[in-house]
Symmetry: C2
Subunit: 349 residues, 2 copies
Amino acid sequence: MDLSQRKQKILKAIIDEYIGTAEPVGSRAISKKDDLGLSSATIRNEMADLEDMGYLIQPHTSAGRIPTDSGYRFYVDSLIERYKMSVEALEKLNMIMAERVNHLELIIKKASLIASTLTEYTTVVTSPKLNGSVIKKLELINLGHGSVMILVVTKTGIVKNQSVAVTLSDKQASELTKIISDRVSGLSSDELTFDVIKDIEKTAKKKADIPPKVLINILNFVYETIDSLDETEIYVNNAKSILSYPEFSDTKKAREMLEFLDNKENLVKLIGTPKDNVDVKIGTENEFTELENSSLVTVNYKVGDKVVGRIGVIGPKRMNYAKVIASLDCISNQVDKILGEMYREESEE
Amino acid sequence: MDLSQRKQKILKAIIDEYIGTAEPVGSRAISKKDDLGLSSATIRNEMADLEDMGYLIQPHTSAGRIPTDSGYRFYVDSLIERYKMSVEALEKLNMIMAERVNHLELIIKKASLIASTLTEYTTVVTSPKLNGSVIKKLELINLGHGSVMILVVTKTGIVKNQSVAVTLSDKQASELTKIISDRVSGLSSDELTFDVIKDIEKTAKKKADIPPKVLINILNFVYETIDSLDETEIYVNNAKSILSYPEFSDTKKAREMLEFLDNKENLVKLIGTPKDNVDVKIGTENEFTELENSSLVTVNYKVGDKVVGRIGVIGPKRMNYAKVIASLDCISNQVDKILGEMYREESEE
DNA sequence: TGTTAGCACTCACCTCTTTCGAGTGCTAAC
DNA sequence: GTTAGCACTCGAAAGAGGTGAGTGCTAACA
C-alpha cells in the first residue's frame, strides 16, 4: 500500500527530527513545525497508522516514535532531499584533491580522510584492485650481510619492497636484476605466471653464477612481491568518532565496534565487493550483527569503466544520509577523474 | 621520614589490591590477607598514618583508601616486586622477534605489537632516529606524463619515495640518476648539505641536458626525500584498550584520550626525548593534563650505545607496573640486540 | 607500649516509593 | 476529516529509608 502525501511528510519530519536529536519524537513536536498545519491529535492518528505499517515503533507505550529499519529504508529511497554540498566543503575537497599525487594509495587515503572530515563519521576504503599493475622497474638491492631487498615500482607509482635472507655479491645482484628486469618490466602483474618465473630461472642458470637454491628463493620472493601489488588494502579513518554518538555511550559496545573495525577481514567482506554505485545498508540489512545499529553507505570508484575499489562511511542508523550520500558521490567523482587521468596516461604509452 | 617495614608492607598490600580491583581498599581486606597477622584495627591506625604522610587518600569518609600519586611513586621506587615473565610470554617474544627483518620500521612495529599484546595496554613507539642513515641507492624513475619518482634506499633497508611533477625523458632520468647517485650513495643523510646539492647542480648542468628549473625542482625533492629518512615516526598500538578500564567508562573521557593518542605532536613531546632507561611517569607527573589519570612507562632502545628511539606503554595509574616494566625491559633488550647486529654489519662494511 | 575488641558514626549505594511530565489512545464535538 | 479534551501509561527524576562497608576513637589487655 502506498503512503499518502501527508503520511510521507510526517514520516520525513519524524526521521529528520530523530536524526537530529536521537530522542523518540512525539506528536506535538511534529505539529509545532508549521509546514503542515495539523494538530498533534491528527499527527497521532497518522503516527499510529505509520506504526501499523511498520515504519515506526514506540520504544515504550508512553514515549514518542522512532523509525524502524524499513522506516529509514523508505526515507532513503523516497523521502531524502538532495543535499547541497556547502561551498566551503567543495572548495576543501577540490583543494586537497588538486595536489597531484602519483601514488594510488595516497589518493585513496586522502579520499578517506576527506570523507571522514566532511561527514564526521568513520570511513573505510579499499585500495584499488587493479589486477594488472604494469611493472616499471624491478631491482635487487644487496643490503649486505645476508640480505637482499627486492624492490618493485609500477607505472602508477606503487612501490613494494621485501627483504630476503640470502647472500649475494653486488655483481650477482646486478646481473640477476638485469635478467629478471628484462623479462618482467612492462609486464602487468597478472601476466607474471609461474611459467615466466621458470623461464627466468632457466635464463639465470645459464647466464649468472648463482647457487640454484638461492636463485629459487629469490625468485619466489620476487613472485610474492609482484603478487602483493594487487592485494587489497583497507584503511579505516576516524574510528574514534563513534564515541561521540549516544548509540555508543556504553563503552562495551564502543569497544566491540572498534574491534570490529580493527579486523581487516570483516571489512573486506563488508565493503569488498562492488555493488550499486551508491549503496546504503541500514541496520540489519548488513550481514554483520555488529552493525545492526549502524548504517553503511558505500560508493564505488573506477578506473575508466572498471570498478577498482570502494569508499564507505559507517555511522549510527540515524546518520545524515543526504549529506553522506552527497559527500561520497562528490568524492568518488573526483577520485574517478584523477584515476581516469592516470590510467589514460598509462595506456597511451 | 622513613616508613617502617610494616607500613611498607601494608602500603604494598593496599596498592596491589587496588591495582586488581579498582575499588577503594578497606582495612579488613588487608587484615584478612594472612601474610601479616594484624587485626583490622591495627591496619586502620597504620592506614591513617599513611594517609597523613600523603601516600593514601579516602575518596570519602566511609570508604577504603586508594593510593595517591606519591603512593604509586613510592610503590614503583621501592616496593615493586620483580615480575617474572612467563615462559609463554618469553617464547612468544622470541618467536616473533626471531623472524629476521631488515626494515627498521618493521622491527619497531613488531616491538610495539608485542608490548601491547603482553601488557594489554596501549603502546606508543618512535621509529629509530638514526641521524645519518647511509644511502645505498638513489634512483629517478620516469613514470611518464609529467611525473618522476625519486626513490631512496638506505643500507638499513629504509625505502622512501616521492613523486615530482616534472617532465623528463627516460634518457634524462637515467643520466641524472647516475650523476646524483654517484655523488650521494655511501653518504649518510646528515652529510647531505645544501652544498652537496649545489655541487650536484653544477655537475648536472655540465653533463646533462636538463632545463635548470626542472633540475632545481628535482634536487629540492631529492633533498627533501633524503631528509625525511631521519624523520621520527610514531606508531600507536591497541589504543582501543583504554575502553576496557573503568577509568574510561565515560565515553567523553575515552574520546579525549583517543584524540590525544591521535595527535602525533603530543606523542612526540611525550615520549620523544630519551630519559632514564626505564622511566615511569605517574599521573600528574606527566606534562599533559590528558594523562593525569594515566601512567606512562617508557624504555629507550639503542643502536650500539646510542639511544635511537623509545617504546612506551600508556595505561591507567593502577597499572601492573611490575609486569609492564619487565615486559618493556625484555622487549628493549631484544630490540637492542637486533639493531646492534644490523648496525655492526653496517659499520663493518 | 603496641595491639586489639568494641562501639558509635559516616556516607555511598541500593531499593522502594512518589511525583512528574511527555507522550499516548480514544471519544465526542466541530 | 480534524481537533479539543481527557484518562491513562510509564520512564525518568527525586526523595526516603535501610544496609553495610568502612572509618576513628576509646578502653582494656598482654
